[in-house]
């Protein structure tokens, strides 16, 4: 097998594995509660989510989420209920389609701008040219000056 075929086969195998792994799964109720809780900030902790915090407040909030899930509310309804109670502050990541969603665009913009700059700086390097005698002399002089002890 040529190297190229082996590479294509390897990439396809990874891709197939990813497709299987990414296949949508039925979400259990606990998983759904956990997912909603992970997006909400525990109000009495230092930056922990409701899912992560072992505090009583977080446990009560998880219980409320569980109750709402059992009542058949949608994710958005549950989130909005907490948002009304605590303000936008309770959401640990701002919605993308929001005035504050700009925070999502920055990483993307930096990567794209960076790639554009890099692309403009890549190309066939010109053959290495030997330094001119003047440059060599300058470097020697500077090196000699520095190597002298003060």
């Amino acid at each position: 097998m040529s190297p190229r075929l082996a590479l294509i086969a390897g990439a396809l195998a990874v891709l197939a594995a990813l497709v299987v792994a990414a296949a949508p799964r039925a979400e259990s109720q606990e998983q759904r509660i956990e997912r909603i809780a992970a997006e909400l900030r525990c109000p009495v902790c230092q930056g922990l989510s409701v899912a992560d915090s072992p505090s009583d407040t977080a446990r009560e909030m998880r219980a409320l989420i569980a109750q709402r899930v059992a009542e058949g509310r949608s994710d958005g309804e549950i989130r909005d209920e907490f948002r009304r109670a605590y303000g936008d502050w309770v959401l640990l990541s701002p919605p993308l389609l929001d005035a504050r969603g700009a925070v999502w665009l920055v990483p993307l913009a930096v990567v794209l701008a960076g790639l554009a700059v890099v692309a403009s700086r890549l190309g066939r390097a010109p053959p290495l040219t030997a330094p001119s005698p003047d440059q060599v002399a300058l470097l020697r002089a500077r090196a000699a000056e520095d190597e002298e002890p003060l």
Partner: protein, 670 residues
């Protein structure tokens, strides 16, 4: 009043400040006038300043150990009941002591450059020395003003102190994690000072990079290992079953590390290709500025964090220092810009240079993301008055794709030679790593792993490790062919002669191990909660956790409610305790999780609540975190690799032949 340790420390700091200013003047004069006697004076001044600052630090430790509550810092951070170990390490339990530790390390860096650096490159290092003396003077000046004076007295002295923050007297790792971070932070001053010195002297070359290669690497490694130690502390002490919360202070430590990771790679482009001069200077300035920003964020109280233990008037001073550093550095950079411009393209698209550039883009994007995410709530509040949060869901969503892209580059980069390779060569090199990645992906799916990110992480980690193994095999073969060495000796000699390259590969393996540990512990964790009566038990992921009962433990410095548990799994039965600890100076209980670690997974038990009256029940949260202990192992591998890369190489004693033929191209040409 009889003289005390605090008087000694206070006097030492006040004596050190004029010395630092004298050192600054002497070093600047020595560099400008090429004056040997002034340099000698600066050298001895550095030693004297170091001795004084060390005296001050040890005086503080002595004041803490002797519980001298007439010192405000001791009264606020120590109590008669505090155990000796935690008394001693309370040197860095709060702001003033941390600045004292910082200054001590900085004085060490000044002395190192004064004696070692100036021998190698007299003019450049002497200029850098003047800059380092200026920084030392700033921190000493902070400590003789009320803003951060560690030795301020209170009269009358209280009979007992408040005791250290409970979170800081709960785990031995507190003795390790903050000093590692401070060492990392402060050692970045050395490359930064050399970079500025190079700009001041108008050098166009990379001598500042070569001269500070080792200190940059050591600073990078200490910061990295310090971050992992902090994650471990968070895991073992904060009791929430995680190790990384994207807390502002964690972010403050990780930002300079990200920038420095870009730096330690991109300097190689300058050394090999004489390119990216402005960029490398910008990176080292950025990394250094981020260390100061981190200190400002954590110590000024502008952001809420588990780590901002104190708030003080030091914030504006640090902000002014940061602004001065940025204005001075960027001004120098602009002044010298014309001497630093690159000519021509940096490299071919399929070359190691190109991979380093892409790597730099991703690391800079990651740094800016963390910076923006940390500051965004402040910015929004300043503009609109609204309070918003940026937490793990945001950082995870951005960091995971960036991290996986970086893993991919980590596998490709070492396969590509400088100046570029043909596509056919690259394809040949990538076959084994690609097949390893495919194997890992298929195997993990077959073992039941679900979630595309996790599978991709395992595949890319296998890709990276296979790359490194392939490079090692090639290197050993090349040495055997060239020098006829037996395999073992050839392997050892690879590290002895080209420690930088192969040490770097060991670091890559450590990062791959960390990536696997993060993916497994995040994506495959299982959790459960149950309220049990003594004698009851719960089942989690094939283990039985039996609750035997609660008991009260009274210690001098705290009270504990300890839950005795018994955990049964396939390997047998073992006792485990989870506790809630009550400290007199804390309103909330501090959880002390019970952790049963093994190579396969950790069982993490949190005592969440209990019946306060009759001890009739307790609620436990249990998390099973696969492979999480490999995170600490990965951190150790990263540290080991950095040591191998920083060790002086033995290549000078060897014929130059092996040096000029890089292992990969030697093997690829066959």
């Amino acid at each position: 009043m009889t003289p005390s340790w605090a008087d000694l420390g206070s006097g030492a700091l006040r004596a050190a400040l004029p010395l630092a200013l004298w050192g600054l003047a002497a070093a600047a004069y020595a560099a400008q006038r090429r004056e040997g006697r002034a340099l000698a004076s600066a050298r001895w001044t550095a030693v004297a300043a170091l001795a004084l600052v060390v005296t001050a630090s040890l005086s503080m430790v002595a004041a803490l150990l002797s519980h001298d509550f007439s010192v405000r810092y001791v009264a606020l951070n120590n109590a008669l009941e505090t155990p000796g170990y935690f008394s001693a390490i309370s040197l860095w339990a709060a702001l003033e002591g941390s600045i004292l530790l910082w200054t001590t390390v900085l004085a060490g860096a000044v002395t190192y450059v004064a004696w070692r650096g100036t021998r190698e490159l007299p003019r450049l290092a002497t200029t850098a020395l003047a800059i380092l003396f200026a920084m030392l003077a700033f921190f000493l000046a902070l400590m003789v003003t009320p803003a951060a004076d560690p030795f301020v007295r209170i009269d009358p002295a209280p009979l007992n102190g408040r005791g250290p923050n409970p979170l800081l007297q709960d785990h031995w790792l507190m003795g390790l994690h903050p000093p590692l971070l401070y060492l990392g932070y402060v050692l970045f001053s050395i490359p930064f000072a050399y970079a500025l010195a190079s700009l001041i002297l108008g050098e166009a070359g990379d001598r500042w990079i070569v001269a500070t290669r080792r200190s940059a690497l050591v600073a990078w490694a200490l910061l990295g290992v310090g971050i992992v130690a902090g994650a471990w502390w968070s895991y073992a002490v904060l009791g929430w079953g995680g190790y990384w919360a994207w807390d502002p202070v964690e972010n403050a430590a990780v930002m300079p590390w990200l920038a420095a990771t870009a730096y330690v790679h991109s300097v190689m482009v300058e050394e090999k290709r004489r390119m990216l001069r402005t960029w490398n200077l910008s990176l080292v300035i950025g990394a250094f500025a981020l260390t100061i920003l981190g200190t400002f964020l954590t110590r000024s109280g502008v952001v809420n964090s588990v780590h901002s233990f104190t708030q003080s008037a030091i914030g504006p001073l640090l902000l002014g220092y940061l602004a001065a550093i940025l204005v001075f550095s960027v001004g120098l950079l602009l002044w010298r810009a014309s001497r630093l411009a690159d000519s021509g393209p940096v490299g071919a698209p399929l070359s190691r240079e190109a991979i380093f550039l892409f790597q730099n883009v991703l690391f800079v994007a990651a740094t800016l993301t963390v910076l923006l995410g940390t500051l965004y709530p402040l910015l929004v509040e300043a503009v609109s008055g609204d309070q918003v949060s940026i937490g793990s869901p945001y950082f995870d969503r951005v960091a995971v794709p960036l991290g996986l892209a970086l893993l991919f580059l980590m596998g490709i980069g070492p396969q590509l030679p400088w100046h570029g390779a043909s596509r056919a060569t690259l394809e040949r090199q990538l076959v084994t790593p690609a097949l390893a990645a495919a194997g890992a992906a298929v195997l993990s799916v077959a073992l039941g792993v679900r979630g595309a990110w996790a599978v991709l992480a395992y595949a890319l980690a296998a890709f990276v490790v296979a790359t490194v193994v392939q490079e090692l095999v090639r290197g050993v073969r090349a040495r055997r062919a060239l020098h006829g060495e037996p395999p073992g000796a050839a392997f050892v000699n690879l590290f002895r002669r080209s420690g930088r390259r192969y040490g770097g590969y060991v670091v890559h393996v450590g990062i791959a191990v960390i990536a696997v540990a993060i993916a497994a512990s995040q994506a495959q964790s299982v959790q459960a909660e149950a309220t049990l009566a003594p004698g009851g038990s719960m089942e989690v992921a094939g283990r039985t956790i039996a609750f035997e009962g609660l008991r009260d433990v009274i210690e001098p410095q705290r009270r504990q409610v300890v839950a005795d548990l018994r955990i049964t799994d396939s390997s047998g039965e073992a006792p485990l305790t989870a506790a809630l600890r009550y400290y007199p100076n804390a309103t909330a209980a501090i959880g002390s999780p019970g952790i049963r670690s093994s190579a396969g997974d950790d069982v993490y038990v949190i005592l969440a609540a209990y019946d306060g009256r009759s001890r009739a029940w307790a609620t436990f949260q249990v998390r099973v975190l696969p492979l999480v202990s490999w995170l600490w192992v990965g951190g150790a591998i990263v540290g080991l690799g950095a040591v191998l890369a920083a060790l002086p190489s033995a290549r000078r004693r060897e014929r130059p032949l092996a040096v000029t033929v890089p292992a990969s191209s030697a093997a690829g040409a066959k």
